[in-house]
Amino acid sequence: MRFLHLIWGNLTRKKLRTALTLLTVLVAFVLFGFLSAIRQALVGGVELAGADRLIVRHKVSIIQLLPVAYQARMERIPGVAAAVHQTWFGGIYQDPKNFFMQSPVVPAEFMAMYPEFILPPEQMRAWLATRTGAIVGRKTAERFHWKIGDRIPIMSPIWMRKTWEFDLVGIFDGRDKGTDTTALYFRYDYFDEVRQTQNWGQGLVGWYTIRVKDPAQAADTARRVDEEFANSPAETKTEPEGAFVQAWANQVGNITLIVAGILGAVFFTILLVTGSTMSQAVRERIGELGVLKAIGFTNGQVLGLVLAESCLLTVLGGGLGLGLAWLIIARGDPTGGLLPMFFLPGRDLLLGFGLSLALGLVTGLLPARQATRLRVADALRRL
């Protein structure tokens, strides 16, 4: 672009002012990137949730247990293709800070329910053959440098208040970038056998995941499941997996709203800062703009010059900010496990770039209009 050196020259005219404005924009976009990643971590699962999956939990709360016998009854309900259960283990590996989820499951049916977990077939066979076997997601395996064959001691304050030992037989990967690969799964038969020997909690599970035959009928199916267990000692509440994840995230608050609120305030400030920088920049060079017009620059070209300058400022600041955010975020979950899906989604990165461009257009528009409205003869008199 032949006007680039002119735009660049104008931008670097007041170096300190430009640098400060750039820094402000940059900080705002680092924040944008960071909050996007946090939002992704907390509610990103909602979008990845299977549309054909329902979660069945105890009507009173998720921590109340359900009979394992419900599984067979659920599978008889019309519209239900399969049902699997999980149970909150709440185990601690070495230190409570090392948080990740563990759950006993029935391997074959569980892996069939969650095709987003990719486990090599020979590891699956090993799991089926090993009563104390467990599989773990790639993220957690890498975090603790676990290898297949390791014995993993996990202390459960809920179950038997003892340290359980699992033989690591497999490491699974996620099919999608957002797939949570932090959890550890071990065999339910082993789990229940230990409970039976202690005569405590046997035959109880945490919650069920149901696959429906027809996602369009999911609401009907959910209602039928809850009717099936109505007026029993353990009534159920069934909802789509997405809603379940959302409710889980909402325990922290309405994340999306909070994030939008913070970013709204930040970007409003940026708008004022950049806007005032730009209008000051234009006001200082009314005369020069008059000269350009005298030379033959059209109003449209002058408008373009000012807009290009403001956009260059915000896109540069925004790009650097997003880049920096991306670098920080790529170093991983800052909470050490509480945010298993902590990454900056490409969609938000794109949104950020769009936002920085929009910011440039909005902040440049008013000063640019001011520059265009200027009559040449008047501008030249103001020199």
């Binding site: 002119l6 020259g9 005298a294 033959g296 109003n299 003869a377 008199r381």
Partner: protein
């Protein structure tokens, strides 16, 4: 010498021009029933007291402003009826301006300043560089091409301004007090340059000045007073 321009067609023809500015409720009649012809190739000086409307008239001729009434023809074009956009295009093609305060863009080097009008043409970068080099050579500042305006003297800045005015090779050069801010020596250099451009390249020049020393270089001098032009200064 191009003093004798009789018989040549007028390049600039201003007829029956009125210019009224409005300042609040007040009307300021700056030009009234003004006529002026400038033959092609003439070096005309326009004198008059401060506030008499010299710049206003120059702006009308240069297509920077429109008359309240009357017509302005330059070359074959009638300027007073052109749109803003058409006027901008016309200026880019036909006229060069030289201002009292040089009006260089401080963040651009001398050569980048001179190049500005060429950015509006379809010339390639290489062609632009060639034209810029020629213009800077004409004003004797080839060795200052990479300098920023603030590192140049007033006289040098004004010569860069002239280079910018002639780089597109316009037929008409309009100068508003080009020596007004310069000392005698630098002013003389600028006047020599304008005179050379007029004589050697046949540029038609209209130069506003209130310096008799400057107007003496022109082939013809007209005086603006109370909105009208005369051939003699008012006593």
């Amino acid at each position: 010498m191009s003093e004798n321009t009789a018989g040549q067609s007028a390049l600039v023809r201003v007829e029956g021009v009125e210019k009224v500015f409005h300042r609040g409720a007040e009307d300021i009649h700056v030009l009234s029933q003004l006529n002026l012809e400038v033959p092609a190739g003439q070096f005309l000086a326009l004198m008059g007291p401060s506030g008499s409307g010299k710049s206003t008239l120059l702006n009308l001729i240069g297509g920077l402003d429109r008359p309240t009434q009357g017509t302005v023809h330059v070359g074959g074009d009638r300027l007073d009826t052109l749109s803003d956009r058409a006027l901008a295009a016309w200026r880019a093609r036909h006229v060069g301006f030289v201002f009292q305060l040089y009006n260089l863009i401080p963040v651009l080097t001398a050569e980048r300043n001179v190049e500005l009008p060429l950015l509006l043409t379809p010339l390639s970068p290489a062609e632009r560089r060639k034209h810029v080099a020629t213009a800077l050579a004409v004003v004797g500042l080839s060795h200052r091409a990479k300098h920023y305006p603030r590192t140049l003297s007033g006289g040098e800045q004004q010569r860069v301004g002239i280079a910018r005015g002639i780089v597109t090779d316009p037929t008409l050069l309009l100068c508003d007090e080009p020596t007004g801010d310069l000392d005698r020596k630098a002013g003389d250099e600028v006047l020599n340059l304008l005179q050379a451009l007029n004589r050697e390249q046949g540029k038609t020049i209209v130069m506003v000045t209130h310096d008799p020393h400057a107007s003496a270089r022109a082939a013809r001098t007209v005086y603006l007073n109370k909105g009208r032009l005369t051939n003699e200064p008012e006593q």
